[in-house]
Amino acid sequence: MSDQGSSQITEFIQGEKEPQSSSVVLALGVVASLSFLLLYGILYPGREMPVVSELLPMFEGVFDSGIWFFLLGAMLGIFAIIGTILTEATSE
């Protein structure tokens, strides 16, 4: 009983299935974040965004070419491959 119980708890905690509505929740979260950012601009016009406005000048002169947009995508891909190796190897 205890062995069966522990295996059920592992399955219960890990969540074996992925409901389709979970992606809707994620999309809703992203849309809400963007909406609040827009709202900030409307409520406090002319004011700089906290934290973000201090970080962005650090990258001036660094990511000043369109190639970085694509290279960031490639870097995400490389991290996706490393992530896939790590998660697939440890999931079993």
Binding site: S65, W68, I78, I81, E88
Partner: protein, 554 residues
């Protein structure tokens, strides 16, 4: 003085001698030689050999996996090189870290990564599965072949670094990378020769294509040194194309013909055409590749010379390149018809790898013909078409060599690992991204090259804005290749853990299997199964009448 014919004569002689030695062996020294080679491959390496698995298929799997990773890196390097050709300061911020690459360096590094990293490793990896299978035996040393994949990857990494900085601390980096690669290549050749020496049945011709592809590489270099042509521009151009015609063309032809037959379930269409492919590839000069042999010059540590061919060299070189169309057309048609069987369409197009091989075989003939014109022009010293040479070289790399080797690897990988790729639909999406990105992106770049050539010819002072726009469009479109290679990598890696096991494979590639199959005329069992029927499908004969029909009453 003629350089081409004497060099090729030595090459042909060495090939014939090698074939006789492989068929007849070394007489009384056979057992001693085999024992010594086996000792060198395993015991002589000491504890290093214990680091790797010796399980059947592990060597092929490791080589293909490395090749896939290199394909992704090569696509990123080539994409960045194409971008910098129209925006040379795009990566200037990396100068703070001491890295300021230009377009030429990135393209050169991308070519090393693509040719020796991706294509080379996938072809050798597939060959490590194909040759033992065709010989009816196991690979002589799985452990050694697995171990040297690391050495080969290290050599490619050094070559990629050498493409940026040829000399570091007084050491010629590219020559160092080549030396390591020769070491790894020697181990693979000895391993494969030992494998075919234990063959239990006659080896089919695709197996010989792989073997001659492997041994052709060092023999081409030896021939050029023996003939003394290594110091001349024509000799350097020749060795570059001899390596292209043997290691790359023969190797890819061997593994892809095997994969096309096994993957489609159709027997190889023509044995004669495979023979023509092998014989033709060895006696002719493959025109595909750049007109600038600097890659071979750098790898062999030679002093670069201008191509100034004699009339005899021009005639013989042009003739032998035109002759290369025979093996090219023979191979392409054989592969395409084998994929289709007796039908008009590829029946199992869902199988990963088939689409890539199909595309590579289609693109081979037009690109080979285009390369023939460009190379003949360069060998004659005119250089009127040299403006499109680099992009045409990239096109032959990304639209022919890469799809053919990748398609083969995608078929062989599940055979050696026991699991299929995770998702067929992701594999198909990756195919469209890679092929579309490479063909469209490089076509736009060739259009820009042609525009530049026209402007130079008309002595225009101001550069055209269309050229820059086409180059931007070309580099952005080529980004599809980066995405496709990343999709292929994640699909392959995930498939290793969660992919469908080969033993669980169902008969049909579709989940929708018909319950009944109406038989209207005589047909083969193969056609019935190809329509999606399974073993449980009920075949119902439908009676037909020969009586004349009449109008339908309303």
């Amino acid at each position: 003085m003629s350089e081409i014919i004497p060099t090729l004569a030595i090459f042909w002689l060495l090939m014939v001698v090698s074939f006789i030695l492989m068929k007849r062996g070394l007489s009384i020294f056979n057992d001693v030689a085999k024992g010594m080679v086996m000792f060198m491959l395993e015991k002589a390496l000491g504890p290093a050999i214990d680091f790797v698995q010796g399980k059947p298929g592990s060597a092929s799997r490791t080589w293909i996996m490395h090749g896939m990773i290199w394909a992704m890196l090569a696509s990123i390097l080539t994409f960045a090189g194409l971008w910098l050709s129209h925006d040379s300061t795009a990566l200037h911020s990396l100068g703070a870290w001491g890295y300021s690459p230009d377009s030429h360096e990135l393209m050169y590094a991308g070519r090393f990564a693509a040719l020796f990293g991706a294509v080379g490793m996938m072809v050798i990896g597939a060959g490590l599965h194909v040759v033992p299978t065709l010989s009816g035996t196991n690979l002589a040393s799985e452990s050694n072949a697995t171990l040297v994949s690391g050495l080969w990857t290290l050599s490619v990494l050094i070559l990629v670094i050498g493409a940026h900085a040829k000399e570091i601390l007084g050491v010629d980096i590219i020559v160092l990378g080549t030396a390591l690669q020769i070491l790894a290549m020697t181990a693979i050749i000895l391993n494969q020769l030992l494998t075919i020496s234990n063959a239990t049945r006659p080896i089919a011709i695709p197996g010989w294509l792989i073997i001659f592809g492997l041994i052709g590489n060092p023999l081409a270099v030896v021939s050029v040194f023996l003939s003394g042509a290594y110091g001349t521009g024509v000799g350097q151009w020749l060795v570059y194309h001899m390596i292209g015609g043997t290691f790359f063309f023969c190797g890819i032809a061997g593994v892809s013909l095997y994969a096309s037959s096994m993957g489609s379930g159709n027997p190889l269409w023509s044995r004669t055409l495979v023979g023509f492919t092998l014989f033709g590839a060895l006696i002719s000069i493959n025109p595909m590749g750049s007109t600038d042999p600097s890659m071979a010059v750098d790898m062999l540590g030679l002093e670069a010379s201008e191509i100034s061919s004699s009339t005899q060299d021009h005639i013989s070189g042009s003739f032998l390149m035109a002759l290369a169309m025979i093996p090219v057309i023979a191979y392409s048609s054989n592969l395409l018809v084998t994929l289709r069987g007796t039908d008009a369409f590829v029946e199992n197009a869902d199988s990963p790898g088939i689409a890539e091989m199909n595309m590579g075989a289609w693109m081979l003939i037009p690109i080979a013909i285009g390369s023939l014109f460009v190379q003949t022009d360069a060998l004659g010293g005119a250089g009127e078409l040299s403006g499109i040479s680099q992009t045409l070289d990239l096109l032959s790399l990304w639209a022919v060599l890469m799809p053919l080797s990748l398609g083969t690897a995608l078929y062989v990988f599940p055979q050696v690992s026991g699991r299929k790729v995770l998702s067929v639909s992701r594999s198909r999406a990756a195919f469209w991204l890679m092929s579309g990105g490479a063909v469209a992106g490089l076509t736009f770049t060739i259009m820009a090259d042609l525009n530049d050539m026209a402007l130079i010819e008309s002595l225009a002072e101001n550069p055209s804005s269309i050229t820059e726009e086409l180059r931007i469009l070309g580099s952005v479109t080529f980004y599809g290749t980066v995405l496709g290679s990343i999709f292929h990598c994640t699909n392959l890696i995930s498939g290793q853990f969660r992919g469908e096991k080969l033993s669980e494979e169902v008969e049909s590639s579709t989940s929708l299997s018909p319950h009944t199959y109406e038989l209207t005329s005589s047909t083969s069992v193969r056609r019935i199964l190809a329509s999606g029927a399974t073993l449980d499908t009920e075949v119902i004969p439908v009676s037909q009448s020969e009586e004349a029909g009449s109008a339908t009453e309303l």
